[in-house]
């Protein structure tokens, strides 16, 4: 029997699917001296892995989750623990059929075989289903079930046999010691372990363990109810664990999955039943296991009736009884993504809120990330550094998961907004915006006006130029007012609230080194220069793209987007040398954008400073007085217009906002929302956005953002970037123009993003990575009167004028390649910015 060693390179806490996969991959990548502990016994310590339903549907709307799932399936197959069963997602309503058509888009975009089928097709494969209960289904032949406990054992034992790993079960973690911001030691009931790294991979208990080191891991244990009914004669007459496809009854939020002679019925339809990590019973206190909580049958009864309606002959078969019923605990997060990566405590990593379908893929990605500094699959949406302070509160997780639980099988619009726990971060001018009828969308807790109802009067002025959308889905979470604001900005000017920008200052003797080593662009520039730059990881993938202002010899200000701001801040903080400081200024500096052909006139009317092109050049910044307020003005643009970002103290922001609107009114300026700033303004200019076009799997060269020269100074990712420049890209980011929007029914349809790009007659395209092109951003280009799409195409297809198609809701629409590099379709020579 192994005992707890006194020291280790890595201590992995947890022996579920994630911990087991992680130790396997760390060992495979050559790390030694690994120690894995779990409070429970092996092979089933009592966590969520032990009671998982273990089935995998590969198609998800998220590329990251799909990639992790596909990688996990590959690993399960290699271990011989995957059984392919096929799976149906059935639709009881026409609205759901439309959602399944959208699912077809994702399947094609990610290259997963799938088709929409009639009820008779389902009946043939699942003879005990009632055909009249549904109208169609989404068929994925590659769906299957896995033995996650066996997989865990194989991976763990392999690492032990290789001599890299010591696993000790039945060990309780009592504390985590942090010294000088770094993890040093794990204290257990069987001795302390001195260690360089700790990975918290203990699922629903992770928040409790994280708290021991002052790290918030914002997940909540939540109940997923499941019953098992059998023996069913229809099932027991066939050999093996599963011989019928799994059925997801999407509109009743439940699934039916054969398990030997039994049919498991699981539900996501009940009220959200959340627990606290500290309130999970011990193994001794639990009847079955800590994560198999007592079944609350009242919550399940409505599901039972719906399941019975779908499969009465099976679930009502003679002798078939409900032999097992649990309230199984699993992990949920506020945004539905896992929690991975290094915390703010150096060396303390997390790999939590991971489901069976992602487990081995996450194990590999986190192991690569620990060993190499980056992972093959981009997992930035799951980075623990993504959370803003308000998201680290347990209350936030509780409210958001309560809201989202019912959407597990729901039809979620890509722009859908949460309703709970809003109004966490309000711009100083929020009240004014409310009076203007702002429709708020949330980013990083900030309430950002997406458009202003006060601009509704512009609709009449611009008429059809606002490109109204006929179909409710296309127009949901959207307004033609966005396009009207866009047109007015291009015609006169717009005032845009950018309070949500993440702003941090790096000051001190090492400030230049800190920005030089993180940024691709030359940062050793004169004071007063503004730099737009990619930020890369060591393998040359995007960490971010952002702007840097040199405010002094030893003072740089970094400005980045709200959504990814905390992760960027953590990345820069890790590169700030001792004696130099990084200060978060997000809450005390507010940014207001002023752009449009009249922007200079408006600013000039409010300041005595020289704001002419000669007096205030593009990509420069300096402090000026606007009215009686001092602002840091930065001449830059993300919407392709002349203008400035004005940085102002939070206390002065509401006044400046009113001043700009008042003064601007005479020049035709209106308040403009993020609908313009985030989509229409930039897409006409071909500006890329992190999280859409730019991520860790994309390079500067593929994104068409390379400059003629590379700076001499060293920076993260330089070697990889230099290599990328020498070879031809595997994919090229292009702007596509939709040529005709007319669907078969005659209704004009407008893509929203995520759709597959195909040959004109619907054939599959494949790029040099083996990936299939899909739309990274879709949006109106009102100044062009077109709907534009951005997508990475195979280089051979990236030819201006090339005629292709986009598939939307299972219909093909013709598109033409309009631009093959960062050249803008609107104002390609950037006259408007001058």
């Amino acid at each position: 029997m192994a005992t707890v060693p006194a020291s280790a390179k890595v201590v992995v806490i947890g022996a579920g699917i994630v911990g087991n996969s992680l130790v396997h991959h760390l060992a495979r990548l050559g790390w030694r001296d690994l120690v894995q502990i779990d409070k429970g016994p092996l092979p089933n310590p009592g966590g969520s892995t032990g009671h998982a339903s273990n089935f995998i549907f590969p198609v998800d709307h998220s590329r990251e989750i799909t990639d992790l799932t596909l990688d996990s399936m590959r690993q399960y197959k290699e271990m011989g623990v995957f059984t392919e069963s096929g799976g149906f997602e059935i639709a009881r309503t026409e609205e759901r059929m439309e959602e399944l058509r959208r699912r077809m888009s994702s399947a094609k975009a990610w290259g997963i075989e799938a088709e929409l089928v009639e009820p008779a097709f389902v009946k043939e494969k699942v003879p005990f289903i009632e055909e009249d209960q549904f109208i169609g289904a989404f068929w994925t032949p590659s769906v299957g079930v896995v033995d996650s406990l066996r997989a865990g054992t194989i991976m763990r034992d392999g690492a032990v046999e290789s001599g890299a790993l010591t696993t000790v079960p039945n060990v309780e973690v009592l504390g985590l010691d942090v010294e000088d911001g770094r993890i040093r030691r794990v204290r257990t009931d069987q001795g302390d372990i001195e260690t360089e790294y700790v990975v918290i991979a203990c699922g629903v208990w992770s928040p409790k363990i994280g708290d021991m080191a002052g790290v918030s891991i914002p997940l909540t244990p939540a109940v997923h109810q499941m019953i098992s009914v059998g023996p069913c004669p229809q099932l027991s007459e066939r050999e093996g664990e599963i011989s019928f496809p799994i059925v997801r009854d999407m509109d009743t939020f439940c699934y039916e999955r054969q398990h030997g002679a039994d049919m498991e019925v699981g539900s996501y339809a009940h009220r959200a039943i959340l627990h606290e990590p500290e309130e999970i019973p011990s193994i001794e206190q639990a009847k079955l296991s800590p994560t198999e909580m007592p079944f609350t049958s009242d919550d399940f009864d409505p599901q039972l009736e719906q399941a019975y309606e779908l499969m009465p002959e099976l679930l009502g078969a003679e002798g078939a009884e409900m032999r097992y019923a649990i309230n199984g605990l699993l992990s949920l997060t506020c945004d539905g993504s896992p929690i991975l990566g290094e915390s703010h405590v150096a060396g303390l990593w997390t790999a939590s809120a991971v489901w069976i379908k992602e487990g081995p893929g996450v194990g590999r990605a986190v192991a690569e990330w620990m060993v190499n500094g980056h992972s093959e699959i981009d997992v930035s949406h799951s980075d623990i550094a993504r959370f803003h302070p308000h998201q680290l509160r347990r209350e936030h997780t509780r409210l958001r998961t309560t809201e989202s639980f019912i959407k597990t099988y729901g039809i979620v619009h890509p722009a859908e907004q949460y309703e709970s726990d809003r109004d966490q971060r309000l711009a100083p001018m929020h009240e004014s915006q409310q009076k203007l009828g702002a429709v708020f969308f949330e980013t990083g807790g900030w309430e950002r006006p997406h458009w202003y109802e006060s601009n509704a009067g512009l609709l009449e002025q611009y008429g059809d130029a606002v490109m109204p959308r006929e179909h409710e889905w296309d127009a949901r979470w959207w307004s033609p007012i966005i396009n009207a604001e866009h047109l007015r900005m291009r015609e006169a000017a717009g005032v845009i609230d950018l309070s949500a920008f993440e702003v941090f200052d790096i000051e001190g003797p090492g400030a230049l080194d800190a920005v030089q080593v993180t940024c691709v662009a030359q940062c050793d520039v004169p004071v007063g220069k503004v730099i737009y730059t990619p930020v890369l990881d060591p393998k040359g993938g995007f960490k971010s793209d952002l702007t840097v202002m040199r405010l002094g010899d030893d003072h740089f200000r970094v400005v980045t987007g709200a959504a990814h701001g905390p992760a960027d801040r953590q990345w820069f903080a890790a590169h700030v040398p001792a004696g130099t400081t990084l200060t978060n200024r997000t809450d005390d500096v507010v940014t207001i954008g002023l752009w449009g052909p009249r922007a200079r006139d408006i600013l000039a009317s409010l300041t005595s400073a020289d704001v002419s092109d000669a007096g205030f050049g593009f990509l420069t910044c300096r402090e000026i007085a606007v009215g009686d307020v001092t602002v840091l003005a930065s001449r830059i643009s993300y919407v392709g217009e002349l203008g400035w970002e004005l940085y102002v103290a939070a206390d002065d922001a509401a006044g400046l906002w009113d001043t700009l609107l008042d003064a601007g009114a005479a020049y035709g300026a209106v308040p403009v929302g993020i609908g313009v700033y985030g989509t229409t303004g930039r897409i006409e200019k071909g500006y890329r956005a992190f999280g859409y076009e730019l991520d860790a799997e994309r390079s500067i060269v593929e994104a068409g953002m390379q400059r003629p020269k590379v700076k001499a100074a060293d920076f993260v990712g330089k070697e990889a970037y230099l290599a990328q420049r020498e070879s031809s890209p595997a994919a090229v980011l292009c702007t596509l123009v939709v040529d005709d929007h007319t669907s078969a029914s005659g209704v004009k349809r407008y893509m929203l993003g995520g759709e597959p790009v195909l040959t004109r007659d619907g054939g599959t395209l494949t790029d040099g990575h083996g990936h299939h092109p899909y739309v990274t951003t879709a949006g109106s280009a009102p100044s062009l009167g077109k709907h534009l799409l951005l997508a990475y195409l195979p280089p051979a297809e990236a030819v201006i004028g090339n005629e292709l198609a986009v598939s939307y809701m299972e219909e093909l629409y013709p598109v033409t390649v309009g631009s093959v590099d960062a050249t803008a379709l609107l104002d390609p020579s950037n006259e408007r910015i001058r």
Binding site: A286, K287, A320, M322
Partner: protein, 251 residues
């Protein structure tokens, strides 16, 4: 021939008993609630005999156990709504007797009352005998099998000298020990049907009388007598030694 089967909502079993904060009861938040294993067998017997009514004395949550019994085949349910922690065995026996008498008066009546041998939480072993005394009916305790024929109930189970069978005239009271029958799980249609049965709610006929509970105490944890003999093939000789000591093997 109708049977009344009496059940009690109790905390399900787990290896560590958890008490409520006021130490008045076992806490079911981790292990959940059930009826005792003896009562599950009593319900199974009642259902096999046919025309079974289930009753309990308990708080509002005890409906869950009534529905569980309905889901496996009981056809009617009576709920005496009261705090079971304050009702001692004499109080419970009195309330059951009242239900039986009221049923007789309304023309229905029960020929046989089945109970569990003892409740899993309080373990008083008293309610069956007190009920029989109250009703003036014959009683047999601790049997595992029950059958009815020709107005007689045959109740059998293990006794000190071997298997014992008792025959008594109906009406009668019988308390059941687990082990003679295999309780069934609910079927899906059974559960759906149970949900729709109207439960007859009653209030207790009298306030509880007699001794009350001060608080519950947990016994000190039993020292572990687990001894690790070794791991893998190396443990084999030690296992052989143990089996030899136990007399399972001889060399």
């Amino acid at each position: 021939m109708t049977t009344l089967v009496c059940i009690k909502r109790v905390v399900d079993s787990s290896s560590e008993v958890v008490l409520t904060d006021d130490a008045q009861a076992v806490d079911g938040r981790y292990a959940g609630f059930t009826m005792s294993a003896h009562e599950e067998c009593a319900v199974e017997i009642a259902v096999q005999l046919g025309d079974a009514t289930v009753m309990t004395l308990g708080d509002a949550d005890a409906v869950e156990q009534l529905r569980a019994a309905l889901a496996v085949g009981c056809t009617a349910a009576t709920h005496v709504v009261a705090d079971p922690q304050t009702f001692g065995p004499a109080d419970v026996a009195r309330e059951i007797a009242a239900v039986v008498r009221d049923s007789q008066e309304s023309g229905g009546g029960h020929d046989l009352v089945l109970l569990g041998n003892d409740a899993a939480d309080s373990g008083d072993f008293q309610v069956g005998i007190r009920l029989a005394y109250e009703l003036g009916w014959p009683v047999v305790n601790g049997v595992t099998n029950v059958s009815v024929a020709d107005g007689q109930v045959a109740a059998s189970g293990a006794g000190p000298d071997g298997h014992e069978t008792y025959r008594l005239p109906l009406p009668a009271v019988v308390t059941v020990l687990e082990g003679g029958v295999e309780p069934r799980y609910p079927t899906v249609p059974g559960r759906m049907k149970a949900k729709k049965v109207a439960i007859d709610e009653r209030t207790p006929t009298a306030e509880p009388a007699g001794p009350g509970r001060v608080r519950l105490l947990l016994p000190p944890p039993a020292p572990s007598d687990v001894q690790i003999l070794g791991k893998g093939a190396e443990a084999a000789p030690a296992v052989v030694d143990v089996l030899e000591q136990l007399g399972v093997l001889s060399r």
